[in-house]
């Protein structure tokens, strides 16, 4: 699934056996990569209304996530400085543990504290972005909410019409230094999704010769080391021996 910087779908392709929900996921992933790599990301998020929970009543500020990101990364210009985020990088930051999988650590800035608040049904920014619209769709709209920029969007913002995804499989597309869109893949697994989108984009760029391709390595999110040694964000992770009848390894190296 390829989208432009506004999240509009430019093209879609699927194998005959792909499940239908995979289409939904692929576009979510692409839109997430395009959004977070956009220099307007912080401004857009800060302008969104807080998610308003039902029971017990509480609000969760979307702008608060921007602040959390900037504090966590130690960079006051985060989400406004054009760092290229793949969905793997966003996922690193959107887990209840950072680094992911290590018990007893604090949550990532896009997530909620564990075990105090986090659950699969309360996972941070991903839920909070769509919560108000989800409430309204089951007949309990938030009273006094300002009208959204895009009434057809789950998040109220036209760039994220069906919300974000927080697991790997999408990469922003650049022409030189300029962000022009994103590609997202939903398939057999996160490493395969990464490879198809990342390697596909790299090969497409080579084939087309029009200057499009992956972000230059200097601006990728894997240059960020938020909390000291061992906390570097990942950008892409391609699987071992991915090609049929071939023993080629490290297929994404150097790209």
């Amino acid at each position: 699934m390829v989208v432009d910087t506004n999240g509009d779908i430019l093209g879609l392709t699927r194998t005959p056996d792909a499940p239908v929900f995979g289409t939904d996921v692929a576009v979510q992933k692409a839109r997430t990569a395009a959004f977070f790599s956009n220099v307007n990301a912080a401004a857009v998020l800060a302008a969104l209304p807080a998610a308003s929970y039902l029971t017990p009543p509480a609000t969760s500020s979307i702008a608060g996530y921007v602040t959390a990101m900037r504090t966590f990364l130690g960079d006051p210009t985060a989400l406004a400085n054009g760092i290229a985020y793949s969905n793997r990088s966003v996922g690193n930051l959107a887990r209840p543990f950072f680094p992911d999988g290590i018990e007893g650590t604090a949550n990532g800035p896009l997530s909620k504290p564990f075990p105090a608040q986090w659950s699969p049904f309360n996972d941070g920014l991903q839920l909070d972005l769509i919560f108000n619209v989800l409430r309204a769709s089951v007949g309990a709209p938030v009273p006094g909410l300002p009208p959204p920029l895009d009434p057809s969007s789950c998040t109220g913002d036209p760039r994220l019409k069906n919300g974000i995804q927080i697991f790997p499989g999408s990469f922003p597309i650049y022409r030189g230094p300029t962000l022009i869109g994103a590609v997202g893949v939903s398939g057999d697994g996160i490493d395969q999704d990464d490879m198809i989108s990342f390697l596909g984009l790299a090969n497409a760029g080579k084939a087309l010769g029009t200057g499009i391709g992956n972000a230059v390595p200097a601006i990728r999110a894997d240059t960020l080391v938020p909390q000291g040694e061992g906390t570097r964000l990942r950008y892409v992770n391609c699987p071992q021996a991915p090609f049929n009848d071939s023993t080629e390894q490290n297929v994404c190296a150097g790209l």
Binding site: P99, F198, R220, T231, Y235, Q249, N250
Partner: protein
């Protein structure tokens, strides 16, 4: 008993004859020997028994006392003519009771007294060569020694007779075997005389005789000469010994192995794939202190009771180039430092039975003790806690072991016993029998049955570095338990000049859940290994062949890959070989390694010493040659070349989702140098280099950079007290 001289004079000679006659019948005395026998021997208390009579009346005399007076007459009251010195040899030609007539150098004759009033004789008497002594009753023509008619009856020689029941050592019709005191060198130390003032020095026990003579002074740091710390002398009592051993083992290893990029993070930017940079290094220092208290007689017989305690201190540092390789938390970085104090041995050994005069024994040993299942550690070599009965028969030609062990969990980074963790739910039952000198002298055969019951079904046991090792992240990674019985036959020794060692094992059992088929499965696997070597002067050449079966289908109900309980094989140049010594990783097939450290099997365990056995593995085949060159007593050079294959790569293909992985594992080439500066094992320095040149199969598993050739370099210093 003096009688009036004139009236009894005629009696005196006869009386003297009768009473001076000895057991050694004198023919012209017609008395029945029985009469002589019944004659009560009269020997004054405290006096030495007189020597036997001579046939021809001649006696060889050697003076034992420091001086002996020569009297004019055969009475102590008569004048002293001269004094004989100790060691003097002369001949006596007459005997009168206890007195012997000798001739002095100036021609005079005199009499010397054998031992009147003393318990030690003054001189030794050799009763000549033509002695005819018979048992009482035998006819022997022995002229009676002439009795001096002038002998004073009042001072008749004291009645003397040998005890009638004195045993006479004699060959039939030959001469009696009498101990003859050899010629005494007057400059020699004289034999001790009980009546002389004591010239003795008190010695606490026989072990300290050398001490008391002041010949050797004990040096506490010298283990080669008598040293109480080394069990050469008792520490208390007569037979309680203490033996101290201290070993320092320092190791540095640098190597290049495939290393995965950390999953949720990476050390460097642009880490886009699975395989990272592979350089690693390890430093480890072990201090092993062996304390042993024995009751016994050291080398004279096996100890009756032993208490042994062996603590070990370990310090280790490892460095790699990727995060999440040493510890599961990538924030721990690329360097890991750890230390640990372990108890490797703590047992009581009691010898409850000595079965023969050759000290065949039966022992029971309870506690944390070392155990090795066969000659080279192929199946089970560990320091578990348990109870072991062992012993020998037929002068050590038969040996047996009967044991139950419960395995102790290990400290992950040192591999030592961690008694702070709960004991593993893993029991090993052992019954084995050794026969020495089987077929030929110098070859020992062993038959063994080992049963392993594992019940480790707890969820998510993590090792010290945070990695989950039980159940292994392998297949569906669900807890499972198993029972397996190993039937083994091993041999070790030599046939003539050919040194051989061989082992065969068959494993049969049941796994209650196979991680691929997710069903119970039967275990049926085998293992065979043989090594032959021969010495050519200072060169030893060896050849090895090894086969461990693999599993051809992880989804059927049978697990046919062989796995040991805890292997530590000394084969095919184990210490230097890359494949055996290093833990070769798998990367991308689960949280398991292809082979374990100090292991030859491609066992696909999560951890060799902390994980469960895994019988769903590709198996391994090895053919190798090697040679040891004893260049000098100090220097030894070792070289090994092994070719390795997988037995069946189906399991690897399934794990890695990769078809048709080739069976060729690779070529393992290594060389080592050993230096012993003092010619002894007290200081040993090792340096070795090893490389695994990947075969087609291994190349398919790894990337071109770190997978083509994996190598290691090692330095080791071993100091032993």
């Amino acid at each position: 008993m003096s009688a009036p001289a004139c009236s009894r004079r005629w009696l005196a000679p006869i009386a003297a004859l009768v009473l001076s006659g000895s057991l050694y019948a004198v023919a012209q005395v017609p008395q029945v020997p029985q009469a002589q026998k019944s004659a009560a021997p009269v020997v004054k208390r405290g006096e030495a028994a007189p020597p036997p009579q001579s046939v021809d009346g001649r006696y060889g005399i050697q003076v034992l006392a420091s001086t002996v007076n020569v009297h004019a007459e055969a009475t102590s009251g008569s004048a002293v003519l001269a004094e004989l010195q100790q060691g003097a040899r002369l001949e006596a030609d007459q005997r009168r009771g206890n007195w012997y007539r000798i001739h002095l150098a100036d021609g005079r004759s005199g009499w010397i007294d054998y031992a009147v009033g003393k318990s030690n004789p003054n001189f030794a008497v050799d009763a000549g060569t033509s002695i005819a002594r018979g048992r009482p009753g035998s006819e022997v023509g022995v002229p009676a020694p002439p009795v001096d008619a002038h002998a004073d009856a009042a001072s008749a020689p004291a009645p003397e007779a040998l005890p009638d029941d004195r045993i006479l050592l004699q060959r039939p019709m030959g001469r009696p075997l009498e101990a003859i005191i050899p010629a005494i060198d007057p400059s020699q130390v004289p034999p001790p005389s009980p009546l002389l003032p004591r010239e003795t020095v008190p010695v606490p026990d026989r072990w300290r005789i050398v001490d008391q003579l002041g010949i050797v002074n004990q040096r506490v740091f010298d283990p080669y000469n008598p040293n109480t710390l080394k069990g050469d002398r008792p520490v208390f009592g007569e037979d309680w010994f203490f033996n101290l051993g201290v070993i320092s083992d320092t190791l540095f290893e640098a190597r290049k192995l495939p290393t995965p990029i950390g999953a949720q993070s990476s050390q460097d930017p642009q880490a886009n794939d699975q395989f990272g940079r592979g350089r690693q290094s390890t430093f480890a220092q072990n201090l092993i202190v062996s304390l042993s208290l024995l009751k016994g007689s050291t080398t004279f017989k096996p100890p009756e009771l032993e208490f042994r305690f062996v603590p070990v201190l370990n310090y280790n540092v490892s460095k790699v180039e990727e995060v999440r390789a040493l510890r599961i938390d990538p924030r721990s970085g690329t360097r890991r430092t750890d230390h640990f104090a372990a108890i490797q041995e703590a047992f009581v050994d009691y010898e409850y039975n000595i079965a023969s005069e050759y000290f065949d024994f039966d022992d029971i040993r309870v506690g944390i003790q070392p155990f090795i299942s066969d000659f080279r550690g192929f199946l089970f070599q560990d320091q578990p806690v348990g109870i072991r009965f062992f012993g020998s028969r037929e002068s050590n030609r038969w040996q047996y072991n009967l044991a139950w062990f419960r395995r102790i969990d290990k400290d992950t980074n040192s591999g030592l016993n961690d008694i702070g963790k709960p004991l593993r739910k893993d029991d090993v039952f052992v019954a084995n029998l050794f026969r020495q000198d089987f077929l030929v002298p110098g070859f020992t055969l062993q038959g063994t049955v080992i049963h392993n019951i594992n019940r480790e079904t707890a969820e998510a046991f993590l090792d010290n570095n945070g990695f989950q090792i039980r159940p292994a992240i392998f297949g569906d990674a669900r807890p499972h338990k198993y029972n397996v019985t190993y039937l083994g036959a091993s041999g070790d020794g030599h046939f003539g000049r050919w040194n051989t060692t061989a082992s065969l094992y068959y494993a049969a059992g049941r796994d209650d859940r196979n991680p691929f088929s997710q069903q119970p499965a039967d275990i049926s696997a085998f293992y065979g290994v043989g090594e032959v070597s021969r010495d050519f002067d200072w060169i030893r050449v060896r050849g090895t062949a090894l086969y461990a079966s693999g599993d051809k289908n992880p989804y059927d109900g049978k697990e046919t890959g062989f796995d040991a309980i805890l292997e530590n094989p000394q084969i095919a140049g184990a210490d230097t070989s890359f494949w055996i010594r290093q833990a070769v990783p798998l990367i991308g097939g689960g949280g398991v390694a292809l082979s374990g450290r100090n292991g030859v099997l491609a066992s696909l365990r999560s951890s060799k010493d902390q994980g469960q056995s895994n019988f769903t593995n590709p198996g391994v085949a090895l053919i190798g040659i090697g040679a040891d060159f004893d260049i000098s007593p100090r220097w030894r050079v070792i070289g090994n070349l092994n070719q390795l294959w997988f037995a069946n790569t189906t399991v690897l293909s399934v794990l890695r989702n990769q078809g048709n992985i080739d069976r060729n594992l690779g070529t393992d080439i290594s060389a080592a140098v050993q230096y012993r500066p003092l010619f002894t094992q007290n200081i040993v320095l090792n340096a070795s280099a090893a490389a695994l040149i990947a075969g087609k199969g291994l190349k398919q598993l790894y990337d071109a950079d770190s997978g083509k050739t994996q190598y290691s370099i090692l330095f080791n210093v071993l100091l032993t007290f």
